[in-house]
């Protein structure tokens, strides 16, 4: 706990705002059942409970802080339960990207000339592919699901990570402390894992934080096109998609998940900026 408070004290205002936003959303997602009075998928007398404006109660005396959608489902309940799906998909997708990117990037930096040109070639090739074309194709290959979205986003997002890890590791490997530990008898793998990689991790983590926000946005985009998380499961993307059909008579259905998404991405951006500029 003491460590957490020292970390907080070292942050600038911008990163504190960003981190605060993220913590707020994460806590809301974790505590979703406690923060809601009604389940995210509960629909009762649809004709009488649909399209209720925010801050109204329905005929069952249930209060809806953010109103209801076209099936009479509580928007607030769907928002916090959807946060679980959206955040999990974003974080998992970035984890997949991070794993592949770190392995490819550091192997390219520490490996032989041949390994380097092959790995960098593959990375550049991946960067050249228009991501949406690949996303559309991969997402329509199998039955759409949250797992598929994670894999698809992870497999199409590791190339910038690999590029950055490569550049950082190269520059770390050229520094005197690497020579010193080699002189002390440390092996290549030990130097890479214990010295070069950890020292170059700050910008990589900044990029990964941005990537989480990006992945959440893309998940929502895929769900929006009907290729991501499938209804009735609430995710911010499926919510925005259903809100699009009711823009005229119930704008709050699409506004709420969009604002939540923007807040998370802003949080990620601010934290990443703070990490990057602290170096």
């Amino acid at each position: 706990m003491r460590r957490a408070s020292t970390v907080w004290r070292r942050l600038d205002l911008r990163s504190r705002i960003g981190l605060g936003l993220l913590i707020l959303v994460i806590v809301a997602a974790l505590l979703a059942p406690l923060l809601t009075t009604i389940g995210p998928d509960v629909q009762r007398d649809v004709a009488k409970t649909r399209f209720l404006a925010p801050f109204t109660s329905d005929i069952h005396q249930v209060f809806h802080p953010l109103g209801t959608d076209r099936l009479g489902r509580d928007v607030w309940a769907r928002l916090v339960h959807g946060a679980r799906v959206s955040l999990l998909v974003g974080v998992m997708a970035m984890t997949v990207s991070l794993l592949i990117g770190v392995i490819v990037g550091s192997a390219a930096a520490a490996g032989s000339r041949l390994a380097r040109s092959v790995l960098l070639g593959v990375t550049d090739f991946g960067l050249g592919i228009p991501r949406v074309v690949l996303l559309l194709l991969l997402a329509s290959l199998w039955q759409p699901s949250a797992t598929l979205v994670v894999m698809v986003l992870g497999l199409t997002g590791w190339m910038p990570v690999a590029r950055l890890v490569y550049a950082e590791t190269r520059s770390q490997l050229a520094r005197p402390f690497v020579e010193a530990s080699a002189a002390l008898g440390a092996g290549r793998l030990r130097i890479l894992l214990r010295h070069a990689l950890p020292n170059g991790m700050a910008p990589v983590m900044a990029l990964a934080t941005l990537g989480v926000g990006n992945a959440i946005t893309l998940e929502a985009g895929l769900s929006f096109l009907g290729l991501g998380v499938q209804p009735p499961t609430a995710s911010w993307g499926t919510m925005i998609a259903s809100g699009r059909d009711t823009v005229v008579n119930a704008p709050w259905v699409g506004l709420a998940p969009g604002i939540a998404l923007v807040l998370v991405v802003i949080g990620c951006t601010l934290v990443a900026d703070g990490v990057r500029e602290r170096r």
Binding site: G128, L225, L255, L261
Partner: protein, 323 residues
């Protein structure tokens, strides 16, 4: 220099070929059959077989692939299975709409973004910088399809000022020349605003960072010491040096812009390449998807090459480095 350009060109060709190959096999191995969709649920198995044979889809996949490569190399992309018209013709009708949208939004978001970023970096009022930074961070965070939806909510349904769908009104044929132009511009407004605002956030943030890094550079102090006017110092010395990373980003952001356009076109029913692509993927219209994938890969590679070239224009030092 020439050597460098040749390698870059070869690398670009390899990327295009790789993308096309990957797309071809992914697409053909994916479940879903264009013929079944074409003939409907009442089709007899014999009819389906016959249609598959006519379209050449019953041949082994590698043979189909080689055949496609051979014909595409000569500029023949085959005919759409769903529409029966040449795929090149379908895309030929769609691309001006996408090009208009994307080029205008690049122009607007990059000029505005660079100007805003430069002002933020050089202003002496921290409040102005903070306020505009909050705005650009927020814009940068917004997904295009959502921002588009909100703009439709405000400008179409609340205020009733602008149309939200398509590129022209249903009565466009009957308007005078001037009326038709106004009609087109009114339909262009919301999609263009959406794409521009999204791009603007990122560009402004990036050019602010690039300009700020140079703010206290010794060569700017030297330029001021020699008595150059402030506008000249900023425009010729600070901005030109800051543009190097910004221009590189422009090339790298082309694929992202293309994908942004796909979503924005879906929202506004803008009759562009993105719209054609989404529909073709859903209908498994192989020839059209392949043609669209080829064109987008070529565009992305060309964008990267253009960015590399523009960097050598902006920064003479890289001309020697590139050999």
């Amino acid at each position: 220099m020439l050597h460098g350009m040749l390698t870059a060109l070869l690398r670009g060709l390899a990327v295009v070929l790789g993308v096309v190959t990957l797309t071809f096999f992914l697409l053909h191995l994916a479940p879903g059959d264009p013929v079944r969709r074409l003939l409907g649920p009442a089709a007899e198995p014999a009819q389906i077989e016959a249609a598959r044979h006519t379209l050449g889809l019953d041949r082994p996949l590698p043979a189909q692939y080689l055949d496609w490569i051979g014909r595409a190399g000569r500029g023949d992309f085959g005919s759409s299975i769903a529409h029966g018209r040449p795929a090149a013709e379908l895309l030929g009708e769609a691309w001006p709409a996408t090009a208009l949208l994307v080029l205008l939004s690049i122009l607007l978001s990059w000029t505005l973004g660079i100007v805003i970023g430069a002002l933020q970096a050089n202003t002496r009022r921290p409040g102005l910088d903070g306020l505009t930074s909050a705005l650009t961070v927020a814009l940068n965070a917004m997904p295009g399809y959502w921002l588009g939806m909100v703009l439709v909510m405000v400008f179409t349904y609340q205020l009733g000022w602008l149309p939200a769908f398509g590129a022209a009104g249903v009565d466009a044929e009957f308007l005078s020349a001037g009326g038709r132009l106004t009609d087109r511009l009114r339909h262009l407004a919301l999609p263009l605003l959406t794409l521009t605002l999204i791009g603007l956030g990122g560009t402004a943030r990036f050019s602010r960072a690039a300009m700020r890094e140079l703010r206290d550079a010794p060569f700017l102090l030297a330029a001021r010491g020699r008595g150059l006017r402030e506008t000249r110092v900023v425009m010729r010395h600070q901005l030109r040096n800051a543009l190097v990373p910004v221009v590189t980003l422009l090339g790298l952001s082309l694929p992202a812009l293309f994908s942004g356009a796909v979503f924005v076109e879906a929202i506004f029913a803008w009759p562009g390449v993105g719209q054609v692509l989404v529909q073709a993927v859903q209908a498994r219209d192989y020839p059209v998807v392949m043609a669209a994938a080829t064109i987008s890969a070529v565009l992305v590679v060309a964008g990267n090459l253009l960015a590399e070239f523009l960097v050598t224009v902006a920064d003479p030092r890289t001309r020697d480095a590139a050999r």
